[in-house]
Each structure stands twice: as structure tokens, then as C-alpha cells.
Amino acid sequence: MTLKQYFSNIFTGVKSLATGMKVTGGYFLRHHKEKITEQYPDNRDTLVLAERFRGEVIMTHDDNNEHACTGCTACELACPNGTIKIITKFDLTPEGKKKKALDTFIYHLELCTMCNLCVEACPTSAITMAPTFEHSVFDRSQLIKKLNKPGSKIREGVE
């Protein structure tokens, strides 16, 4: 190492360090503009989640408390984790025929990986993904949900 190299080493070294310090120093001075922290529980009111965000499976009910689920178990078959359990019953149609219908739609949120395969599989678009994410509860059993609302029935015309 010649003396010239020795000093040029020092010079380039110090210069590179100063460049780095310029970047962090710049952020220090501009911190009020650059900060990216989201203060989560405080910004709950203004928090906008993407409409496609997959947080949990829900069954859409209209104003008459009617849903579109025929109890076909396509979603149950499509689910890789055994998250969905459908219990069916037999309704009597006005003509007096027996017709398979949904009794209870059990959804295990604790097993769900939000893969959206059940929603894709549903032939009647009865279930969708909801953009909610605050699922913490104190007891795991509270995560087992019944998706069809009490007293709800299948919408007219959905086969």
C-alpha cells in the first residue's frame, strides 16, 4: 500500500460515510413529512381496507333475511382445511316435495387460511369474503361461527 493509496483510502472511506450520514440526517430533518407509522387503534375510523381484502367468510343476507345457499356443499369440498361444515335438512316445497336445504353453515375461522377457494366454488355466490380482520377472542370456541342467521331462509328462485 503506497502512501497515496493510504490517504485515498481514508478519503473515499470518509466520503462514503458522509454520504450515508447525509441520507439519515436528511430523514431526521424531514421526519414529520416522511414518517410512515400508522397508529392503528387510533386511526380505526379512517382506516380503509381494500374491498377485496380477505378477512373472513360471510354469508350475505338481504333485507328479508334471505340467503342464497342451497346447501350443495361445493364449498365444503373445495376447502383444503376442513374449515366449512354444512348441515342440511329437508324442506317441504309447496307442492309437497322434499327439497334439500341448508340447516346450519358452520365456519371454523380458526382453521381458515383465507384462500378464497370456497367463494370461487360457490355456484350461487352465497358466501363472500369480508374485509374484517379484528378476529381476536379470548376463547377459541368463539371462532366457530354459524354463518346463516337464525330464521333465515333461501331466497326465492335460487336453485
Partner: protein, 357 residues
Amino acid sequence: MSFETLANWVHNWLYETLHPTVALLVEFAIVGVLIIGLFAVLGLVLVMMERKVSSWMQLRLGPNRIGPWGWFQTVADTLKLIVKEGMTPNNVDKLLFNMAPMLVIVVSMVIMAPIMFAKGIQIWDINIGVLFVAAVSSLSIIGVLMAGWASNNKYSLLGAMRSGAQIVSYELSAGLSILVIVVLTGSLKMSDIVMAQADGWWLFKGHVPAIIAFVIFIIAATAETNRAPFDLAEAESELTAGFHTEYSGMKFALFFLAEYVNIFVVCAIGATLFLGGWMPFHIGNWEGFNHVMDYIPSSVWFFGKTFLLIFVIMWFRWTFPRLRIDQLLSLEWKYLLPISMFNILLVTIIALAGWHF
């Protein structure tokens, strides 16, 4: 009424009313309490400052939940550390393990003695002030080595050995850069060094050698306090926590506190030697300008300069990656030490020839 007159008044009152020995002991007690109080305040302020500086450099907000702007965050943290169980793991050397944090904290307390906090506020204006600081500060490595060895943990041992090699090497260049100012001033006494800068700080008066010495001192000070980029003794990504891996609760807090107080101390010394300590910013014999500067209290000058240097050291920490152990040693032995040797030669010539202002 300044601090100086208050201190004098207390001193005179004690000696008038009490027996001199008792008065001395009472003064000891008062100073001790004040120092411990200063420690607590420094710990809180510096930890908070570190957090805010780092968060602002990292696009974050920093602590902002406890108290106004999060100012009580460190208080809460200290409270947590105090009530936490101070565990002593099995198979450690109990005596050394428990003594190490005490030793480290005592060392950083002792270095406080010759520091001039403001005009006339100094615990002990010892005539070998600078030498005292250099000597005592190298004691803290013993505490680190004790902690590393007594923990009976390989990570701790590695951290302690790294720290030993590092502090022993960087003492040299720190000492040599201090010597530059001693040569210029002609005295080891802190008050003399400060008074010598009444017409301008050594950083400006001492030509190039003083600037080189200042840069080397800042680097060496960072290394001696085990701060990034020289935090090999802790080296979070390599040794988890280095020499204090096994410490918890208040014993860990003492190491933590000692680290921050050490930063304050080295920066105070740096400010005293190169930036004139409590001396306001004076330029030669511009009477008017100097007079205006004198209106700012001396304590403000001292703490302002010290915290400026602390900020620079924090800035280093949040910008640079860590050096490797062999690079750390080669930086010292191949770059800093030869340069400071040459520097001291240069400054001796300047001082002898009287070329400085």
C-alpha cells in the same frame, strides 16, 4: 443568582454552622445525591433522545403513548426493569456476576468528578483532571470482562473478549488525541483547559491538528463506549447481546445506564477539550460579540455542546453497519494510531513555535 453563588453559599453556611469534618461529610452526601439524581435524569433523557433520534431517522414516530409526546416512556421502562426479577443463572460466578454491573456504574460515576458542568460547578478540580479521566475510564473494561467471564456463557465470553481488545486499543488513540489539547494548553487541569479557550475554542484555534484530534477523539469515544459501529461487544445480530446476555432486571439496567452515562461523559470531555466546555463562543477580541455570547448561561453552553456531540454519536449508530473484529483492530492500529502519533508530533511543533492563536 447563579449555581456558583448558590454552591458557595451552601459551602460557607455548612462550614460556619458545623464542625469542618461533619461539614465535609455533609457536602459529600449532597454531592452524592446530586450525582445519583443526575444519573437518573441523564439515563431518562438520553434513552428518550436515542429513541426519538432513531425513530425520526427511520421514518417512525417513536414512543408517543406514555405522557406528553411519550416523555414518560423511559420512566415506565425503568419501573419495569426495577420490578423485574434480577435473575442469577445457575453455575455463574455469583460474586463477579453481581459485582460487574456495580463496578461499571461506579466507574462512570467516578469519571464525573473532574467535569465542569458550568462556570464554577465542578466536583473536584483535580490538577491531573484529564489524566484522571483517561485512567478511570479504562477501568470499566474490567467490569465488562467480569460480566462476560462470570456469566458462564460463550456468547458473553466472546463479547467480553471483543470488548477487551477493542477498549484497550482505542484507549491509545483517545489518549493521544486528548494529549494534543494538553500540549496546546500546557495543563492537565480541566479549569485551565476551559480558561485557555476564552478567546476561541481549540477546535478553531488549534489549526489542523486539533481538527484531526477531534475527529479521532469522536471515533475513539464511540468505540470506547461500545456504540455502533463499534458495538462488537454487544453485536446483537452476532452475539445476541454479548457480555450482558445473561443479565436481567436492574442488573441489566445498570449496564444500560452506564452505557448512556459513559456517552455523556465522553461527550462532555470532548466538549470541554475541543469546544471550550462551558465557555461561550468567543472570537478573539471582538468585545461586543463576546459580550452578547456571555449572556447565555454557561450551563446552557456546556449541555448544548455535549448534547450536540451525543447527537453525532447517535447519528453514527443509526447510519453505519458494524465493523468486523479484525477491521476494528486494523482501523485502530493502521489508521488512527499512526495518524494521531503524527498529529501529536505536529502539534508539539506548533505549540513550541507558538503558531497557534
